[in-house]
């Protein structure tokens, strides 16, 4: 077995870079999502965006534009529903809006039946399908999201910790929420090709939890989460080459290994922050 053998193939290198970037990106935004106890939104949004992808396909709109816009609108709709109708909780709003969107996608597929194969890839991830233009899109979204997070780092921290009070300290919470939804929609769209709709939720949730288990500092949690996400992506693709297993599933399973190691380590140190606090 040649360790460097897969690197001779361009599609493998492309896939490896894509998975590393996407893993790190999901780890970055995941910190905010997990701490706001909205873990389910990654899962929901990826399903919603699947619907958006099918709609853009049917209407022959560019996939990235159509799907991102669809995801962004879904996220806004979830926020709006939760704010305007407090009787509908955030979890229920996510459930209704995103599954409706997913169902719409499935309905359209079953009606037009012609593109079942490529949507298999969207559901479960297909690293071989990463093209140069996909890679450019991933790199572009990664650069933009990192820029947004850097510029809004302290505002995001405040509204994640204390959304109600941040407003009173002059943080424009409505705009920041919208900006975050946009970054998240873009991330989920570019992650679909690599991880698949069904695996994105795990890529968003596992790295931040690894970070949380290992530190009590927000900054260190961000760094650990990004590193864990990127490492899961890179190792996942590498292992999936040899194991001949779906790339998305492998990335997630590698993440789970990181999680178990972090859990064991923090238990051994005897200061495991309670996971119940992170997951409602």
């Amino acid at each position: 077995m040649q360790v460097f053998e897969p690197f001779e193939y361009q599609f493998f290198v492309r896939g490896l870079i894509a998975a590393t970037l996407v893993g790190g990106l999901c780890g970055l935004l995941g910190v905010y999502i997990v701490l706001r106890r909205m873990s389910y939104i990654g899962h929901g949004l990826s399903h919603a965006i699947f619907g958006g992808a099918v709609v853009s396909y049917v209407m022959s709109i560019n996939f990235y534009v159509g799907a991102s816009l669809w995801g962004f609108l879904s996220a806004l709709l979830i926020n709006l529903t939760t704010r305007r109708r407090p009787t509908i909780g955030a979890d229920a709003a996510i459930g209704i809006i995103t599954t409706a969107s997913f169902a719409l996608g499935i309905a359209l597929i079953s009606r037009y039946r012609t593109f079942t194969r490529s949507f298999d890839a969207a559901l479960f991830g297909d690293i071989l399908g990463v093209s140069d233009s996909d890679l450019v899109a991933i790199a572009l979204v990664a650069a933009l999201v990192v820029l947004v997070v850097l510029l809004s780092y302290r505002q995001f921290l405040f509204i994640t910790f204390d959304p109600d009070v941040a407003r009173f300290f002059g943080v424009p919470t409505g705009w920041m929420d919208a900006l975050f939804s946009l970054a998240l929609a873009g991330t989920v769209v570019v992650s679909m090709q690599v991880l698949g709709v069904t695996m994105i939720a795990a890529a968003i949730v596992i790295p931040p939890i690894v970070g949380r288990l290992l530190t009590n500092s927000f900054h260190r949690m961000v760094i650990i989460s990004v590193a864990t996400g990127a490492a899961s992506g890179m190792l996942g693709i590498y292992v999936s080459w040899y194991a001949d297993v779906s790339s998305g599933a492998t990335v997630v399973l590698i993440g789970v290994v990181f999680f178990l190691v972090a859990l064991a380590y923090s238990s051994w140190r005897g200061r495991a922050p309670s996971l119940s606090g992170l997951h409602p």
Binding site: D162, F168, T215, F218
Partner: protein, 296 residues
Amino acid sequence: MLHPMPHLPGDVGSLVEFEGVAAGYQRGPVIHNVSFEIEAGDFVGLLGPSGAGKSTILRTILGDTNVYAGSVRVAGQPAAAAAARIAYVPQLETVDWNFPVTAEEVVLMGGGARRWLPWPSREERERAHELMDRLGIGKFRKRHIRELSGGQQQRVFLARALAHEPSLLLLDEPTSGVDIRTRDEVLHLLDDLNHQGITIVLTTHELNAVAAHLPWVICVNETVMATGSPREVFTPEILSATYGAEMPVLEYEGMTLVAERPHQLGRARHGGAGHSHAAGLVEVTPAASGEGDAGV
């Protein structure tokens, strides 16, 4: 007993002015026809039972409610425009104590919301340290917020509010859920801040433990029932109207104490012990008067 900072000389005008205000949230007003004035330098307690609209008044000062009628002015401006000069300390119970932040990181939130760089400036950091030293939490900077005592936690959130450089400080139930010593610590700290020129408005439902120590009290139950010093407003009539329960007021060694008419709850124990226990509440004895809080 805390002493009020004397009103500033000359006519400085009201810092907060409510005139016939009805305000609330999406489902309609929670408070009706509320009128009061708070002057710069005041130390005011909003007193009333749960659900009376005390927090709604705080949020209306912050410009965070729907105002259905009347006018709200803060420093002569509509509330929302003035909100930048107001700092707010939330109830400790609403804080997510599992969130991974240190005491210092929380304090830094107060000043840095406007900066477009991920890290604080040197002046900000120095100011945060100075505030934390002043509040006696300087050595807990790197501690996770859950590793602090109740009093230290309250000080961290107070320091965050002060980092905002407010002229008006609003606190939502700063003494609920803390022990007696912490409560006294917090009240004295607020008294110090008031003497340094910061106007303070807090909400409380505790009569003897908190409201009785404040220089000025506004009794609230959906509207303003009374305003004045505790001595003036602690009358059985006003308190019954505010709390919707009978509340005898007693004078004991120069203190005004509010008692609660005892109810006979539960099954009486054999031998009538339950009865004498209930009677003990009304007969104020020196042993029971110190920290008694019949208002809860």
